[in-house]
Amino acid sequence: MKRMVLALLLASGVARAERPQSSDAAEAVAIARACVRRAGAQPERARDWLARVRRAAWWPELRLGAERDFGTREVIDPTDRTRYGAYSIDELRLEARATWRLDRLVFDPEELRVSRESIRLAELRQELAQTAVRLYFERRRLELEGDFAAEQAPRDEALRAARIAELAAALEALCGSTKEARARAR
């Protein structure tokens, strides 16, 4: 008969981080996610681009202009060319023009470029994540085979250990420290 001990950690005030319980699949996925984050290729980035394109439509296109005229103006009768007077001109004109392209709130042609980029980003993300998963499992397979091998020649053992170290280094170079990712998988 199974006996179970149930410990309520919060009630007894001893809540703590849980014991390691990650599976290989969960750990590999967590490492792949870390890789994608490190490369800045996460899907949120493409969504953010698209949102920025849409938000940009609320901002008008602004044109500012200033014009200043200096000079002298004369008043002349056109019939007999009599000159009535002359005065100087100092005229300042300021102009501000704001244009809202409301159609861009619904669809901005820039979205096409963003979607092309997000497709490229998705391809990069897929390649990166799959590489990370492949490296992770190649290393795990070597570790497992080493555990199962009864008596290995020292040379074979050294080569296996070197390959494991190589794979771990490649994974770390690609994804950064895997410790945090492993902790997240737990």
Partner: protein
């Protein structure tokens, strides 16, 4: 702690572990290694149930009850079940959890845990016999003896089985598919309260969302352009100001081919990746199943390959645009 346990949902690596540890007990070193290795695999993240109350997620699994306040990025153990057994066929740990506001209930080690303060304090009583599922309905705790795979959260409801997962925004009257579920081995799926779902899977917690409805962006070309002009003039002590607004409408509606192309390329790529992920998952399941009658070494390698395929399926799905 024993490795003997069969999870409620398929946890074939655990079942396999039992088979090989008993078969090869006489094989000395191999069996020892196997048990050591399998403890890692068997204790993999195979929760029986998850529940949500506001921003807090709860997870019940073989080791106990856990709480997350960051949408599953990290978990803290709230109740721990330590197993000390001689039998190998009994369900253990925490098998069900339900949450509603500050109320939480869980079935753990044949005990019913209840909290009314968000999990700060739990009461502990014997669990009713054959209780399998828990749910809160307007402050009342309901127990069920079977699991229909439907989880309700206000007007939201989710449903899942081997064929996929669905979400309803009207309490179950109509359902929309969560297509990305095809990439995962689902263990539990609950509404996230924002139109999607949290799914506990072989690779951990993932978010599932229904396909967004297609927008008719072609109508955009009818939308006008607004120009506002402000002009100020100073001359010889005089000043005048003018503010003028223009609305210009396009007379011709251009074809929306580019818009459609954008939509179709994104959705095609997503569908392709989803199909690829589903195939990887199915092959992974097949590899996992086919490993059961192999030698311990080959079985472990096959299990690892199955895990790799599950992980590949998950990352392909997560990479989709």
């Amino acid at each position: 702690m024993s490795i003997a346990r069969a999870a409620a949902m398929p946890n074939r690596s655990c079942l396999t572990a039992l088979a090989c540890s008993s078969e090869d007990r006489s094989a000395g070193l191999y069996a020892t290694i196997m048990i050591g290795l399998l403890l890692g695999t068997c204790a993999s993240a195979q929760a029986d149930a998850i529940a949500r109350a506001g921003t807090v997620l709860w997870r019940a699994d073989r080791s106990g009850l856990h709480r997350s306040q960051d949408e599953g990025l990290s978990w803290r153990e709230v109740a721990r079940v330590e197993e000390d057994d001689d039998s190998e066929d009994e369900l253990g740990g925490c098998t069900a959890v339900a949450a509603e506001g500050p109320r939480v209930a869980a079935l753990c080690a044949e005990r019913l845990l209840q909290s009314h303060d968000g999990g700060s304090h739990f009461s502990n009583s014997p669990a009713p016999a054959h209780a399998r599922r828990l749910s809160w309905q307007r402050g009342q705790l309901r127990l069920a003896t079977s699991d229909d795979g439907v989880r309700r959260d206000g007007r939201w409801a989710t449903r899942f089985d081997d064929g996929g997962a669905w979400i309803s925004a009207d309490g179950g009257a109509s359902w929309r598919e969560l297509p990305d579920a095809a990439a995962y081995d689902l263990i539990d799926v609950i509404p996230d309260g924002r139109g999607g779902a949290f799914a506990w899977t072989r690779v951990g917690l993932v978010r599932l969302r229904p396909e967004p409805p297609e927008r008719d962006d072609g109508a955009a070309s009818w939308t006008p352009r607004l120009d506002v002009l402000a002009r100020q003039r100073w001359m010889d002590g005089f000043a005048d100001t003018a503010i003028v607004g223009f609305l210009s409408f396009p007379l011709e509606r251009p074809p929306a081919t580019e818009t459609w192309r954008r939509q179709s390329s994104m959705s095609t790529m997503r569908a392709e990746m989803r199909g690829r992920a589903a195939r990887l998952r199915i092959v992974g399941d097949h590899v996992r199943r086919s490993s059961q009658h192999l030698s311990p070494r080959r079985r472990m390698l096959k299990q690892l390959r199955a895990d790799e395929l599950s992980a590949q399926a998950a990352v392909v799905m997560e990479a989709a645009p």
